[in-house]
Every structure is written in C-alpha cells, then in structure tokens.
Amino acid sequence: MTLKLYPRTPSGPIEQQWSNARFEMKLVNPANKRKYKVIVIGSGLAGGAAAATLAELGYDVACFCFQDSPRRAHSIAAQGGINAAKNYQNDGDSVHRLFYDTVKGGDFRARESNVHRLAEVSVDIIDQCVAMGVPFAREYGGTLANRSFGGAQVSRTFYARGQTGQQLLLGVYAALSRQIGAGKVKMFPRTEMLDVVVDPGTGRAAGVVIRDLVTGAVTSYAAHAVILATGGYGNAFYLSTNAKGSNITATYRAYKRGAGFANPCFTQIHPTCIPVAGDYQSKLTLMSESLRNDGRVWVPKSKDDVAKHPDQIPDDARDYYLERKYPSFGNLSPRDIASRAAKDQCDEGRGVGPGGRGVYLDFRDALRRDGFDKVREKYGNLFDMYERITGENPYKVPMRIYPAVHYTMGGLWVDYHLQTTIPGLFCLGEANFSDHGANRLGASALMQGLADGYLIIPYTLGHYLAGVAAKDLADAGGAAFQAAEAGVTARLDKLVGVRGKRSVDSFHKELGHLLWESCGMARSKASLTHALDEIPRLRDEFWRDVTVLGGTGSFNQSLENAGRVADYLEFAELMCKDALVREESCGGHFRTEHQIDGEAKRDDERFCHVAVWEHAGDGNEPIRNIEPLAFENVKLATRSYK
C-alpha cells in the first residue's frame, strides 16, 4: 500500500460533523477569490452546479463539456425523482432515516460521514431548486408533491413528471448560464479533457489538456484547482442506459496520473429497462423505477406459457415473484435484488419476449383500481415512450422489461472534502465513489450530484484554495504541460495511424458483451479469470486492427469514440480485477460463490473496506490499497427486504 488514504472525517458525533467541518474550514477573502482559477470538467448536475456556485462566490471558472451545450449532460435523462429528507408527508422520514436507508441500501460499503452529510444537505437542495424555478409536481393546495421510490418505505421523492433530471439540469443550466452571461464562467462546449497535469514539484493538480472537438486543436489550461464531474463508466458494457457519449476518459486519465480509483467493480444494473431487441441495438432505455409503485412484476409459472399472449395466462398461472420472495417490499425491492430476481426467472426459462430475456411489468390491476385517467396522469409520458420504442401499447399489454447497466457506484476515491489522492484535484457526482456503497437507491443520484456541486464543493474547495497562493498558478506552457500535450497528440496520431480493418464500435460491442457475461449481474472466479484473459487480447487487437478514418485536426466523431473505447479496454481489466479480489457478494456485486439461498452474502471480516486501486505504470500490476470502513451509527447487519 502506497497511497495515503486519509478520509478526513471530521470530529464529533456524526450529526455535528458537517457543521464542525464547515467551521474549521479556512475562508478565501472575497476580494481574492477572482484571482483563483478553477477548472470544471463536465456540466451535469454536479459539474454545472459547482461551476455556477463557485462563480457566484467570485472564483474565475472555466467549464468544459463534450456536448454541444451544457444543457445536454446525461443528468438530463434521469426520470423518476430526487430524494430529500423533508418529511413533508409526515410519514416518519428524517435525516437519520435517509442516512440509514442509504447506508443499508449501499450494503454497508459507503463511508458513514459522507452519507450523513448527503442526507443533511438533501433538504437544502429542494429549497434551492424551487427558488431557481424548477417546476416540481404540486398538490392542489400548492405544496410540493412526493412519491415513494424503489427501496424506500417513506414518500421522500420529489419529481417533475417523468423528467426530473431534465428539470433539475435546466435549473443548473440556468444558474450556469447566468454566470456565463455575466462573464464569470467561461464555457467550452464540444471539448474533451484528455489529460490532467500534475505539478511534478508540489504533486498538486495544475491544469488539464483539452481537445477542441470541432477544430481538433489540443490546448493546455492551467488552474489552481481542477474538478472532475464527468459521470460514470456504465458504457464500458457498450449497452447501457447511459448516453452514447458518456465515458470514463477524464477519471481514467486522472487515475493514470496518480488518483486512486475506488471500487471499480461496483456497478448497478437497473431492473426496469426495455429489453434488447437485436444486435444493431445501440443503447438501452430505462423505464422509470417509479413504475414499480403501481406496476406488478411477473412471469408465467410454467415454461410452457412463455410464448402465450399474457391475456391468456390466468392469475393462478402467473408468478408475481417479487411479491412472493420479498413480501414486505414486494415490487419496490432495491434495484440489485429486483435485477437478480429477473435474471433468475429468465435463467429458469420463464422469461418472455424475444430471446426469453424479459419479464412483465403489468398495470392491469392499477388500471382497474385507479382508472385510465389516473394512470395516464402519473405515467403517461413513460407509457408513450415505451410505445414509441417497442410499438406495443402498455395500456393493453404488460410492458416487457429486463435489467440493464445503469449506474456505477465506483469512481475516483475522494476524502470528506471530495478531494482525490491528488491534492487540488476534486471529483463530484457519479464520477466519485463516496456515497452509494455497493448499490445506489433510486432517486439518490440527482441528490448526490446537486449536493456535491451546490452545497459541498463551494466550502471544501475554498478551504483548499485558502492554502494556495494565488500567484502560484502553473504555466500552461511549462514542461509538464508540454509533455502531457505531446502524449495526448501522440496517442491521437497513433489511433488514426493504425489503419486496420475493424471499426471502433465492433471492438466496443465485443468488450461490452464480454463484460456483461463475465462481470455483469453475476460474477464468478471462472468468469472473471476468463475476462482477464480476453481483455488484453482484445486490447492488443484493437491497437493492431482498429480503423479510424479522417484526421486528428478536424471534427472526427470516430476518433473521439476511439479514444474512449481505448480507455475502456484498459479500465475493464481493473474492473474485473477488483471483482475477482472482492470475494464476497454485496449490493450490485454478486459473486456466485458467495450466496445464501440466492441472496448476497457479505464478508465483513475480510471486505468491510473500500478497495482503492493505484496505477503503477503501464504493464505493471496496479496496487490495491484499502480504506477500512467503520459502522458506528448504523449497525452492520444483513440486508433483508423480506
């Protein structure tokens, strides 16, 4: 172990840690703030909120995103909602309950202090969003509406029809646009970060190397601090609910520059997605988990019935397996549990639809109970979306769903200040590892992104900058930057120089298939060992036989994609290694060797820790470091949703 993993957990009882920490933090004089340059990579909920809020405070902010507008970051696609411990419904919610649910839902693999802070600030997020004009759903009296959401027994989820992510992101985008208009944030759309530059003298983050995706120009930017808010790596699997452009490049480049990468094997498979229809499929579409509030999940009891029209299968021939196996949570069981249960039914040959990889999500009873209008009001846009994609009418026949890769809990290791193991390099939102342990609860990703961006980084970054002299800005023309730029340029040249026969997508599909089969919903020593043999072979083939047409000095989507896939081909190995070493089942990480009656069997003796991987140079084995986890406020217990 060589990384110094100091989590910087504040002093005092957990309820007081965040206020203690804020009081202990140093402040930057308001007149000096504009002298500090801050770079933010990514413009989703975490990055956009950070850029806007830091600019409001007076810092000199530059924000980069690969999309053509910051409004398109993938946070936009979140459908269901955002959690907050407001207890507006008087149903027994509290900060402590949200904290408890998140720690337990994460299967005891998250850091308690971070999770508690998240639950605390959740209430402020809603206030902030409403003040900015986010059109949350309302009751007739004008108060905010709530609903319950996967894995929770209280109604603490705020929502805006089925497009909560878009409305929250538009709030962030509005705040960011205000700062752009005021000249406080310089925005660089259609750009991609290809390297982090670390000052060799101080070991601090000094800036980034950026490629302009339109002109192809490679340019260095220096800053006093760099914030990565670049989302997750679900696209390693090729098929996922992520946007096509979502990628791991920024965080993986940071890893190669010395940032520890935590728990890469913690990936989340979402139970309610539209099943794969064919090999041309380019992405999978999520059907919001909120559907599980009223939809009932079932498969035929008998294999012989799977090809029948669902109307021809009477109730006593249907297996409502979630209600049967988990009577107290039923259709609202957490994502990892619901996903594995669906896989089990299909593995038994009772799956429905093409290829037998699907289960029914049926609204028949809700339609009978509440009527068409009520169901339409709640879920109309989701039903329409389902019909557009599948050509089937879910008011008449049950939806078919199947699990798909959706979110990644792993990410760059950060301390309580959201700082990575590289001083001055911070990581927010899905890109970091901190809050969701081995499984994320529904409606918690939006909460974490906004908490990190609006309410946490403005404090912790100030504390960091207070210890850095404004005059100590790196020279973007200096040797470290020149070397990084040369490395970036050489790699781009290498990608277009291979001139092989296979397209980038064909490699990506092959990698994705391999990962889905060997490091997906169920993992075993055999499957992971197989993947670890195959990935280097595939990577070698990529660098020998990939074809990227066009040049590096212009708009070239194949080249962008090639760089991202090349990084996935390296990162996939880290993911499988992490999954292999973690010989236990927890949350989304299910090792077939470690189960009791089909349920995950954790091993707290050996694995109650965060695994933090350290790059040791290309060709060398990465080093596995450990941050032990202590559970002092939520008692370690076996999760039970029965």
Binding site: V130, P135, A175, P189, S282
Partner: protein
C-alpha cells in the same frame, strides 16, 4: 402500432435508399450523396439505421456520416435531422432518436439533411452549431438567486395548474426543430417556452418584463428570423409545446416596451 408484436413482425427488415447531406466543414460546400442500406430491422431506431450505414461506410474505407446524438431516449435534445423535409421525421411527439424504422417501408427513399437555419451553421455533414440558443438563455433565462439564499420550499405555494403549465413549457429540450421548421428560421417558440416556464411560476415574476426584453433582443441579435404566425414550429415540436406560449411572450413584450418608455429605463420587474 400493434398490441403485441408477432414473431414474424419481429424479423421484418427493410432495404432503403438514403440521400444524405455531406459537408466536410463549415467553410466547404456540401452536397447530397446517395447510399443504400439493406437488412435494417424494423425495430431499429433511425439513428441505429445510420449506425448500420456508418459501419458499412467504414468497412469500405469511406468516412462515416457525422450526426449529433447522445442520450438516444428523446430527452437530451442533441439529435436533429430533417427527414424527408420534416424535422425529426414529422411523427408527432417524437425525436429522431425515438423514431423507429417500422414507420418506413421496404424500398423507401429517405432524404436526410441538417437543420437549415441562418443562426445554426453546419459544422460537418448533419451536425449544426446551436450555441445561439445558449447565448439567448445566458441573457435572461434564469431566476437571479444565489445558491444558499432559498427559503423553505413549501413557503412558496404554487397552484397545481400553474405548476402544470410551467412544466408544459419547461418540457422544451432545446433541439431546434422549431427553428428548422419555420420558414423564417425564427426561434420564437423556443424563447417563448423558456419564458413561459418561469412566468407561470411566482419565482419568475420579479424579473418578468426585463427577462422578456433581454431574451427577445438576444434572439434578434443571434440572427433568427421574425415570427409570422405559420405555427410550423408547434407542429414540429417533439415535446408538443403549445403556441400559446408565444402569445404570453407577445403580451409581455408589449407591456415591457410600454413600461420601459414610461420609466425611460430598462424595466426591472413590475410583472
């Protein structure tokens, strides 16, 4: 649309003739180029059909067709395309990424072009620069409030119907179909939707008239045309934003002009 797809239907494929706009960069001239694709599943999305074409082009050593896309689930607003002369293909409430090939027939010819508008210059092939939308929003599409100063969310009561109308307008995904559909290349529906979102809510009232003026002048400065009430925008909008939002804009704009003359200064919220 069917209630339940049959197995035979599932296997149905199409052969298509595609006429696609190719343009190497902003400065160069472009032209329509014809391609053929075969064995396209009717369940593939329109963009997946283009993926199939691009794989075919790469295999032949030809540069793939550039097109904007990201979420591929109809919400990020990145995808565009004039398909047979209609933005997003003309199917109601449907983005290009959610358009599926089952609406086409075997042997169809399809014309695919980028958005055509003065304010959206072509970057390459089917990709256009829509940053003019961002510039308009930066001039006023926000509530001026800093993080940290918000009162409790339930201190502000919003009647449900107001919240619903705000949400109807806020559903805009900024794709630009309205501009592409308009014979004048006007961005009225986009700007009006942004304004209506905030102006149906109490949070939007203090800056209402100033915001309207600022965003309308930013729209004019960006090179968008004037609205002459064709309502092609409303027909093309994949999120079905109603033209009513434009009436709201026009009322507020007239009011703002009156108030600002009266005070001889930029109005700052008497909405």
């Amino acid at each position: 649309m069917t209630d339940h797809a049959s197995a035979a239907d599932h296997a149905r494929t199409l052969s298509l003739k595609l006429h696609i706009w190719r343009q190497p960069d902003r400065a160069s001239a472009g032209k329509m180029v014809t391609y053929t694709v075969a064995d396209v599943s009717i369940h593939a999305s329109f963009l997946e059909m283009l993926d199939i074409l691009n794989e075919q082009l790469i295999a032949n050593g030809e540069e793939p067709v550039a097109f904007d896309h990201d979420c591929r689930e109809g919400i990020c607003g990145a995808c565009s395309l004039m398909i047979n002369g209609r933005p997003h293909g003309g199917k109601p409430a449907t983005m290009t990424c959610q358009l599926h090939m089952r609406i086409f027939h075997d042997g169809d010819e399809i014309w695919i072009e980028p958005w055509r508008a003065h304010a959206f210059p072509v970057i390459k092939d089917l990709c256009v620069d829509r940053s003019a939308f961002d510039h308009i929003v930066a001039r006023g599409g926000f509530v001026t409030t800093n993080c940290g100063s918000a009162p409790d969310a339930n201190d502000l009561l919003v009647p449900k119907d107001h919240a619903e109308r705000a949400m109807d307008a806020a559903a805009c995904i900024g794709c630009g179909a309205c501009v592409a559909a308009c014979p004048n290349g006007s961005a009225m529906l986009f700007v009006a939707a942004k304004l209506a979102h905030l102006h149906h809510l109490p949070q939007g009232q203090p800056e209402r008239l100033h915001r309207t003026q600022a965003m309308v002048s930013a729209m004019d400065a960006a090179g968008f045309g004037n609205c002459s009430n064709h309502y092609e925008c409303e027909a093309a909008c994949p999120k079905e934003i109603s033209r009513d939002v434009m009436a709201m804009l026009n009322r507020d704009y007239a009011k703002a002009a009156y108030v600002s003359r009266e005070r001889d200064e930029p109005p700052h919220g008497s909405g």
